[in-house]
């Protein structure tokens, strides 16, 4: 090691060019290999999705055919019409949409508000309170879902959409994410506003909130997707079929029409599609949201 470092500088001074060429060819080879390996891995990860979409356009018999049929012989587009008649897809989608939108809107409001208190306002006990508050993220929901359910039943809220809204209206993760973002906003900004006589609510609403659009976008996407995909919560609280979310509905459809493979796949595609679109459009905010909440945690 000592020898190499001593010897190296000598050729380097005179000839940067010859050293560069072998490295760049090696780099290209590595690059191509990298592309191929990544491409294969990505294809493997996406394979289940490809098969899902293709099967949603097959006839029932063709879904499980041997040998495996990757592309349907005839595209059965009518599956996407029939599913609405054979299932309560529209009810399920409506419920899921209502819940996801309501929960997301509330979490944006409550999360950004509380995070301002924890981040920009100084008051005694603040940091300890925040640690305890955020520490609850690590407590698994299953550890306290039963008394929570009993409490919800006593309030006559279980078996209504309100139960999910009541539980999800606030979220420690949202507060944490927003606070992480607020910490990057210079302290002088809120100080200056305070000197100008703006109240804390005024600073929150007129200065900090408009600056937090990227973080709010991240929180919107993460919350919406989580609520859309939630399974155990709706399973416990939403017993009435009229209240089912898309996940619950799909599961019951699978057990009720367990031979209608193609339609099951159609339903699956329809339940994933909104999320896939949202994810593709807002990918940047997903990444940023996870990066800001993950890195400094």
């Amino acid at each position: 090691m000592a020898i190499t470092t001593a010897v190296r500088p000598i050729p380097e001074i005179g000839s940067p060019l010859p050293r560069r060429r072998p490295r760049s060819t090696k780099k290209t080879v590595g690059r191509v290999l990298g592309y191929v390996a990544l491409g294969l891995a990505a294809a493997g990860v996406l394979l289940p999705f490809f098969w899902m979409v293709m099967s949603s356009l097959k006839t029932n018999n063709a879904v499980f055919s041997v040998p495996i049929q990757w592309i349907p012989e005839t595209f059965v587009w009518s599956n996407y019409v029939d599913i609405w008649q054979k299932s309560d897809m529209s009810t399920w989608l409506k419920n899921t949409m209502v819940l996801s939108l309501a929960v997301t809107a509330l979490q944006l409001l409550t999360g950004s508000f509380a995070a301002y208190g924890f981040s920009k306002v100084r008051f005694p006990g603040r940091d300890v309170l925040f640690l305890v508050y955020v520490g609850t993220i690590a407590v698994p929901w299953q550890a306290y879902m039963i008394p929570q359910f009993i409490l919800m039943s006593k309030l006559h809220l279980s078996n209504t959409l309100w139960s999910i809204v009541a539980l999800q209206a606030f979220g420690a993760f949202g507060v944490f994410l927003m606070k992480q973002f607020y910490e990057t906003v210079p302290e002088e900004l809120s100080e200056a506003a305070r000197i100008d006589g703006l109240s804390e609510y005024g600073i929150y609403r007129r200065i900090i909130l408009p600056l937090s659009v990227p973080a709010l976008a991240s929180l919107t996407l993460l919350t919406f997707v989580n609520t859309w995909n939630d399974y155990l919560g709706p399973l416990i609280y939403l017993r009435d079929p009229n209240l089912w979310t898309i996940q619950l509905g799909l599961k019951s459809f699978v057990s009720q029409y367990n031979a209608e493979y193609a339609l099951i796949m159609t339903g699956s595609v329809l339940s994933v599609l909104p999320i896939a679109i949202i994810f593709m459009v807002g990918q940047r905010y997903f990444v940023e949201g996870i990066a800001t909440s993950g890195l400094k945690g």
Partner: protein
């Protein structure tokens, strides 16, 4: 405490406040008058969140402990039975199996998906073309609900028509019954867990990689370090904080596995894939034994706490 401290200075402020011209006033009394206002605003702003967590988390957590000492079926009043639920759990082979399965599931899904995630993150960090598309591809399983994709996995694992056995037949390996076979079913669930778990870990790693100082790699290149050497001597050590974070959240997540089991196997065959959360669900909402389910919840929580603390110890001392 805070009132006592604020009161005297506040009183003296109010007396001379009238004398100070309005323009000058705002800056000077910040320490006390608006200091108190600020404290009040702070409390008010965090109060709704604290109240919510108090009502829906803190009280239920305490109630779980109390309920775990009762026999309660929702329809009649809870009956105090002391530690009977815990005694029953101790002798219950199903819950023991569920605990073991949860540990096995965590033990395999967490490190395997972390290893894959770090390799993909490093590969994606080379400023590739189409980088966003690759990233999206690896993250898509994470945002897909398990129910929707479960049918596809049921097909992959299907003994007669499934993809897995067809692929194995190509290389001459005899197929298995996978989810229908008590020896293989848990591995089937684990593979789905790995597939779904790569995305978020990859994203955290990508973010962490972007914070590594480029000059470290340049210095290593001058010293003639190979790419592999750089990965092990620079990248991995620099990723230690991210790894620790990913590790802890992954363990917490893995312990809560429910959806996969519920939609893929229903805990079967012969309880070979049942998990702690699944048993809690079964006790509470299928057998209506709320006290028993609470006792199982307490054990789930205690177990997770121990595992997190131990693994934290292990990774921390490893870092030093």
């Amino acid at each position: 405490m805070t009132d006592l401290r604020a009161a005297p200075s506040n009183a003296s402020r109010t007396s001379d406040r009238a004398a100070v011209p309005r323009a000058l006033r705002s800056a000077a009394p910040r320490q006390s008058r608006s200091g108190r206002k600020m404290r009040r605003a702070g409390w008010l702003m965090v109060a709704p969140s604290i109240a919510h967590i108090g009502l829906w988390t803190a009280i239920p957590v305490i109630a779980t402990f109390a309920l775990s000492l009762t026999d309660y079926n929702v329809f009649s009043a809870p009956r105090w039975i002391g530690l009977e639920n815990y005694v029953e759990i101790w002798g219950d082979p199903t819950f023991r199996k569920a605990t073991w399965n949860t540990v096995v599931y965590t033990f395999w899904t967490v490190p395997v998906s972390m290893a894959i995630a770090v390799v993909i993150a490093v590969a994606l960090n080379q400023k590739l073309k189409l980088q966003n598309w690759y990233r999206a591809a690896f993250f898509l399983p994470q945002v897909t609900a398990t129910v929707a994709i479960a049918m596809v996995w049921l097909w992959i694992y299907n003994p007669q028509q499934g993809l897995l056995n067809a692929a194995l037949a190509v290389v001459g390996i005899p197929g298995q019954a996978w989810l229908a076979d008590p020896d293989w079913a848990l591995w089937g669930v684990i593979l789905v867990g790995v597939w779904q778990g790569i995305g978020i870990k990859m994203l955290i790693y990508i973010a962490a990689l972007q914070n590594i100082d480029e000059s470290l790699y340049e210095a290593a290149s001058i010293d003639g370090a190979s790419a592999v050497r750089k990965f092990f001597s620079i990248t991995l050590p620099m990723l230690k904080p991210a790894t620790f974070f990913v590790f802890v959240i992954s363990i917490i997540g893995a312990f809560q596995v429910f959806d996969q089991v519920y939609v893929l196997t229903d805990g079967g065959p012969a309880n070979s894939t049942t998990m702690m959360t699944y048993e809690v669900y079964r006790s509470a909402f299928q057998n209506f034994r709320m006290g028993m389910a609470s006792a199982q919840s307490v054990l789930l929580f205690a177990f997770l706490l121990v595992v997190t603390l131990v693994s934290r110890r292990a990774t921390r001392s490893d870092a030093e």
